[in-house]
């Protein structure tokens, strides 16, 4: 027999107006406690609202992160494409640089060859001076011979007059020849000097200033080779750097994809708020119902109502169980009440 149906000691059963002081005090105490049910329900409502607000803010932040990750992915992909293009351009620069180096070497070889030819030419021109020396020697011999002829002509008297004239002419020709040879020799020497100056880098004799001694063919060739090597080295370093940047950009694209996956998972995890909301709302509803039932009990104890108003109290546990919306609630109920548990778990995902 339920507690509230047992006859009261010292009182007539069914007489609502003669409750003893203990019962009246118990009823009064219950009346004072009933608001606590509503209070607890309201606090639980606060929990639901707070978690919902937090979940929505959290979702907004996740979407912002996701958007930023998408931007990073786009920029990283663009960077990777640009560095790939840069790599192609650098390969072309490298090819041209190599070709330029080969051209420089060919040009250097040509210049060296030409310089040798000019040097040989200078030497041959100078050698002409030897021939001029011979001509001048012949001219001097001719002059001497003409003088001797004139002397012999003067000894021959009037018979040597014609011979003297010839001797004079020969001597004049010899003088002119000597003069011409001297001028040619001067010109040849000037030409050879000018060619030699041109071979030495354009200075007009003497020291050309700083680096003059270094502007030899060999030094210039070495400098050009060094420049070509440095240029190739620079291009190779740039190419390596571009490859590394491209690789880093591609990895960044992959990492951005990973972030996208993580943010998607985080978004779905926010379902926890809805799950807990439903549990809490069920608890709040149950507290409200219990509050109503205890109000009814206090009314009976205080003699204001008959016991029929407490009729629903016995079925409270069943109403609680029937309000569950998920397996976890039913499992917990079965554990605590000893009632039979659920059948085997159905799959979380099912297509009919």
């Amino acid at each position: 027999m339920p507690l509230w149906k047992r006859p009261r000691r010292g009182a007539c059963a069914g007489d609502p107006g003669t409750g003893d002081p203990v019962r009246r005090r118990a009823g009064h105490a219950i009346e004072q406690a009933v608001p606590a049910f509503g209070l607890l329900g309201a606090q639980l409502g606060n929990v639901v609202r707070t978690t919902e607000q937090v979940a929505l803010r959290y979702l907004t932040e996740i979407e912002a992160v996701d958007g930023a990750a998408a931007d990073v992915e786009v920029q990283a992909a663009r960077l990777a494409d640009l560095t790939a293009q840069q790599g192609i351009e650098l390969a072309e620069v490298s090819r041209v640089s190599r070709q330029t180096g080969e051209e420089v070497e060919r040009l250097l070889a040509h210049v060296v060859h030409r310089d040798r030819a000019v040097i040989d030419l200078v030497e041959e021109v100078r050698a002409l001076g030897d021939h001029l020396g011979i001509i001048q020697k012949i001219s001097r011999s001719t002059t001497t011979l003409a003088l001797n002829a004139k002397i012999e002509a003067s000894r021959a008297g009037e018979h040597g007059a014609g011979f003297q004239v010839v001797a004079d002419e020969v001597r004049e020709l010899s003088r002119q020849s000597d003069e011409a040879a001297r001028l040619i020799g001067q010109k040849i020497e000037q030409l050879a000097r000018r060619l030699a100056v041109a071979m030495d880098g354009g200075s007009d004799g003497g020291d050309a200033g700083a680096g003059g001694a270094d502007d030899s063919d060999a030094a210039l060739t070495d400098r050009l080779h060094t420049v070509a090597r440095q240029q190739r080295g620079l291009v190779e370093r740039l190419d390596t750097f571009a490859s590394r940047v491209e690789g880093a950009a591609r990895e960044l694209v992959l990492d951005s994809g990973t972030v996208h996956g993580l943010t998607t998972t985080m978004m779905t995890e926010l379902q926890f708020q809805d799950v807990t909301r439903q549990v809490i709302e069920h608890v709040a509803t149950t507290l409200d119902e219990l509050g109503e039932q205890f109000t009814a009990v206090s009314g009976v104890l205080a003699g204001r109502a008959d016991d029929r108003s407490m009729a629903h109290l016995e079925a409270a546990m069943e109403r609680i169980r029937s309000g569950y919306v998920m397996a976890r609630q039913r499992e917990t109920h079965a554990e605590l009440t000893g009632a039979q548990g659920q059948d085997a778990q159905a799959p979380a995902v099912e297509l009919f």
Binding site: T264, Q271, F272, D274, A348, V349, E350, L351
Partner: protein
């Protein structure tokens, strides 16, 4: 179309599906969704079960009466897992059943199964 009385579910699931390229319409209960279905023709409907005004079970029955929704896949996304409820939903015309919380992978796998072109 997403139908749920939880703002968190509507926002989070919308965000997940939008990232995958879906265009998402939302409704906060069954009656709201029916109103929108008179002009919209979604390729897929995902609905909660326990909602105010009109619950998911009633919504599925009423939606199946609409000419353009008779063959639209309707998935129930709910905390409920009781076999009797599942059978009731199946009889009402639901296409499938997913228990909250569902992972993004599981959700997208089921969607691709009911929407082969997705």
């Amino acid at each position: 179309m997403l139908v749920d009385d939880s703002a968190t579910i509507l926002m989070s699931m919308s965000a997940v599906l939008t990232k995958q390229g879906f265009e998402v319409t939302t409704a906060s209960h069954g009656a709201d969704a029916l109103g929108k279905l008179r002009s919209a023709r979604p390729d897929l409907i995902i609905s909660d079960l326990n909602m105010p005004t009109m619950d998911g079970m009633t919504f599925v029955r009423e939606a199946r009466k609409l000419p353009g929704v008779r063959f639209t896949p309707i998935l129930m996304l709910t905390t409920e897992s009781e076999p009797a409820k599942r059978q009731e939903a199946r009889a009402a015309g639901a296409t499938g059943w997913l228990v909250k919380p569902v992972s993004s992978d599981a959700l997208l796998t089921v969607i691709r199964q009911v929407l082969p072109g997705a």
